[in-house]
Assembly symmetry: C2
Homo-oligomer: 726 residues x 2
Amino acid sequence: MTVTKNMKNLKKIFLITLLQAMVIPAFAQKASWIWYPGDFDIYMSNVMQNRRTERGSFFPVFWKMDSHYVLVDFHKEFTLSQPEEVKLFVEGTYNVKIDGQAITGFPKSIQIQAGKHKLSLKVYSQATVPAIFVQGKTVVSDESWLTTFEDKEWIDASGKTSDKSGTTFVSAGSWGLTDPYSLPSAFKLPVVKHTTVKTEKAGTGYVADFGKETFGFIKVHGLKGKGKLSLYYGESKEEALSTDKCETLDHLKIDLTKKTDSVMPLSKAFRYVNFQPENGVSADSISMLYEYAPVSERGSFKSSDAELNKIYDVAKYTFHLNTREFFIDGIKRDRWVWSGDAYQSYLMNYYSFFDAPTVKRTLLAQRGKDPVTAHINTIMDYSFYWFLGIYDYYKFTGDKKFVQDIYPRMQSLMTYIDGRKNKNGLLEWMPGDWIFIDWADKLSKDGEVSFEQLLYARSLETMALCAKLTNDSENAAKYEEQAKTLKAKIFDIYWNQSKHALVHSRVAGQPTQNVTRYANMFGIFFDYFTPEQKLAVKEHVLLNDSINKITTPYMRFYELEALCAMGEQSYVLKEMKNYWGGMLKLGATSFWEEYNPDKKGTEHLAMYGRPFGKSLCHAWGASPIYLLGKYYLGVSPDSPGYETYTIEPNLGGLAWMEGKVPTANGDISVYMNKKEIKITSAVGTGKLRIKSKSKPVAKAAEIKSIGKGFYEITVEKGKDYTVSYN
Amino acid sequence: MTVTKNMKNLKKIFLITLLQAMVIPAFAQKASWIWYPGDFDIYMSNVMQNRRTERGSFFPVFWKMDSHYVLVDFHKEFTLSQPEEVKLFVEGTYNVKIDGQAITGFPKSIQIQAGKHKLSLKVYSQATVPAIFVQGKTVVSDESWLTTFEDKEWIDASGKTSDKSGTTFVSAGSWGLTDPYSLPSAFKLPVVKHTTVKTEKAGTGYVADFGKETFGFIKVHGLKGKGKLSLYYGESKEEALSTDKCETLDHLKIDLTKKTDSVMPLSKAFRYVNFQPENGVSADSISMLYEYAPVSERGSFKSSDAELNKIYDVAKYTFHLNTREFFIDGIKRDRWVWSGDAYQSYLMNYYSFFDAPTVKRTLLAQRGKDPVTAHINTIMDYSFYWFLGIYDYYKFTGDKKFVQDIYPRMQSLMTYIDGRKNKNGLLEWMPGDWIFIDWADKLSKDGEVSFEQLLYARSLETMALCAKLTNDSENAAKYEEQAKTLKAKIFDIYWNQSKHALVHSRVAGQPTQNVTRYANMFGIFFDYFTPEQKLAVKEHVLLNDSINKITTPYMRFYELEALCAMGEQSYVLKEMKNYWGGMLKLGATSFWEEYNPDKKGTEHLAMYGRPFGKSLCHAWGASPIYLLGKYYLGVSPDSPGYETYTIEPNLGGLAWMEGKVPTANGDISVYMNKKEIKITSAVGTGKLRIKSKSKPVAKAAEIKSIGKGFYEITVEKGKDYTVSYN
């Protein structure tokens, strides 16, 4: 029952703030490679997604891949108090102008006189993204530079430049790449050497076990001889041994007279590698270069339940493996940026790495360029998750600039979607649409599916919010009205009072009698239901075994979220232990694309009609990270960027738990046992909400009863709080 | 008075037709490199337009450059009576599927069994255009293959491919490149060696004269030593000698211990090259690799007037120099694809090379990809010329397929334009627009300029025509109505009865009193005027010296065309001799961007405020090709592809003339002196129209009087006609 006000900490924070304020000019002078915003994201996602192979065949995506702008103009206006030498690094063919005057050739360094100037570079590059790196003492390339793909700078017959240009300049994009000697196109994730845990003879070679699911490049040491060498990769030992059915492999022709170390050209996902040299080919050993995203593991969770802790750790490892240049679905396949999958990754990320750049990249890569010719990934639901991803990004980071930057691309996608409404103002299948929802048997996609309309409504609300942030009040009002109308329509059409649920669809003008979990669980955490409807849905849908079960971690994510949002943490804890614990019991070292406890043995490996088709390391398998952070530690933002937030910890039956939730400006730490809660926060103003039989006790903190046995304490940043409750 | 019916010729033609029919399968089995239609055109136009430099600085365009689709799917369905080996050549990373089944790796040759099959290749390439070359005995890549940039081939959880795809397939694009070992991206125009005509000492080196305006790569023979070498290019000797003001140059650092032949990296336009080695650098000699488009010089013109013949020859040479991968504006600068310039090139082309592929490429390159973010080349008038270019292309070639292929891109450009109408339904300047019209002093671009509305109306008529060709009758009716309304509005607003002309513009709701030639001359050959208006415009505008004169060959093209269309061939002949003859008298070896007879000496070389800014070899300078073919030889199509056509020869004061006008299916030859006309045609059905005091005489041909002293003879293909008249 003490709240410790740590003045030392507070001073430290003030000091840091002061130092940061002082070093801002120094920061601003840190140069980065810059480009037209979104272009490198599109380029690099093409590179990454085109690394997929299936049994040695190149396996690209089936949707439109966009391209960067091949000709881009960059400029910056500034005033120098002293002359300055400025070094120029460029990827592409370029010219340089100072105050509109071109400099001959391809200068690598220029001298700029004191005074007011405009420095412009124009870069052409088809193969890679036009990019510049400008390094002077004060003049440096960063996101404050302006850029355009059409500068519209025509001249008249006298040589005078047009004074009536309609050029739109936008601020440059950057990934914060600060090495001028490493071109953006050479961007690669870091690697580190890992060795095999054990090997076992097989055929003319052996199967190497790396101990757990992993990702990277196999390195063959001391390779020699002439002939064929084959590597068969397996997420399971069975897969690696199945030379004719494993999903990924390398066939190599070797002709080496002396021992050479050789690294495979493409990174792969595996735990096991079946190494099969032909007669005449030999090698000393194999190892791997583990390739990883250098993110910080900021979020944490530990509890009195060892199995739950293991689930958390494996989930985090699963998620880290799938966090690459972008958030991908699975490391074996598809290795693509799927919007529905990424949307969950964003949420997991906010409770683990809090890596905002990877969220932004992934959103930009998914959206690509105009014109919109299909839904994102061709999937109707996936277009909507994209909007929702922006909504959440803003909520968690408070980064208004990104919303403003991406708003025009939000508008054109929404215009595409609005253009596909049927005569009832609802969405149903049209040629080119994939209505996915979930991998589930006999899931009807016919007619007007309630789930899609629900996502549509939420996306319109997101548009309204982002329109406001962009000062587009006219469209904000339009989107708001549209969302309101659609929400009313959803309840009119789909709410079935006798079933206490939204029905699945309306076909040929008739609402079906079919109740599925999808729209109902989203309705809960979208807060679209009345409190009574929520309770009814919980009972009649979520906790009703006669409603078709969900078998993918993908939709379990939302199902368990909905239950947590209804305060069912104890139930969900058991479910987590059953479901994710079930995979662990089967030897999983990462979480799967799909898990059906009813299956047996190698049945768990099969999917899509292929014996090893299933991905055993799928981002959407990692949702415990999110659930434990948001609904057990109980931390979530109430206003953008955690300016205000709620901490409503819930042990869900655990004896104790502790952990950290990261934010853009520091962590929020929570410890809870059955008697005590300890909080430290580096950010904003929180509301700690506790259920207690009697009024909790805390030193130097006001405790407010808010009814129904709940109490609230205001949490200020930089202070430590210890609260006793019962 | 004889018409010779040459039965031998006729038989020959029948025989050729028969042979062609027999060899069609052989033709169909000729493989070409194929790609997504329009993509290579965009890619190569980027390559070409980015070769421009100005005094050693890279000088790219200021409008948006588009990119090819980076991921493209190609497929073809066929039935084999026998098994067949098929060789595969691909530019890009690819996979191959037979009947939907992927083949491992990157096969270079596959065996296909007898029976019905589908062969698919999917290619990813960022740097170059995804392209394939498939060569079997019967299975070959050609424009009959189907292609898409989004195949939307998703699968369900069982691995079954979606049966409800919304994929749009379009037939492949090709440039007829038939060498599988030469990748499309390596495409280059051919070169041939040319030598200097004379050299003259200058500075530490010399000025080499190649005898006339030319284009290509300078080759330095026996280059040796260490130090700097500079080459200054000049279309005039003055320019080559002006090392600080010449427009193009090469600065090279040489470090060669033995004599080496060295070719400059970029092709240049020049007649003179000022070769300036530093101390320590020497060379034996220079020559050039003349780079040219391998088109056939099919059209011809010769007459009793030697100066006119010279004008025709220099015009044709000028035009050939500017006919490159695409029709460009000028070979020194801009070396870009400008729509207004290209539009004239198309017309010249129909009377010289009749090279349809270069027209198609140029139209595709100009238009680029959606979304439309600006007018073509940012110029309002240039968007309209693009539509007119398609209209003419169809008229001259009858190639309906191309119109159908490009129609969607026509629609999106027209939608962009329609979206920029003001409240009066007219176009006026908006941010981002360049209203060009012509290089002319004090030409007002304010308010609603009549010239732009006239082009807009004609473009809408083109849309209506093309909509019909694409069986889009709904939009055809819409565009027709829109054109009709706009035309009526134009005459309501701009026709000034007391000035007998369309006025230049309406500003702030008030038609101005300003009469310029532009709208008035277009109104004539667009046939928008009544016969009375035409005569009035001829007298009060075209032949009225108080109306501002035109000084660019660009607009002289239309001015003289309008006069020819009014039967003023004699006047125009004198104008041609004055204007183009004037350039020849000043020593021109190609025709210029602008010519003002009032200027003196080196004033002729200056433009845009730069002493050598003017292009001395500009495509729009070559219009006599067009005028002489269309209005003197008098040949023009009446229905698409010369199925029917008119020959209305007009000596315009010449004693005699003869020449050929090419068509897609052979030439039309015309000879005329003051007494006799001889015609041979390989195509369609023509109407020979002759003015004669008494009824002309011709053997075996019916002569019909059509009034006002005119007579008409039907010309059938394959026959020779000789007509006497007086």
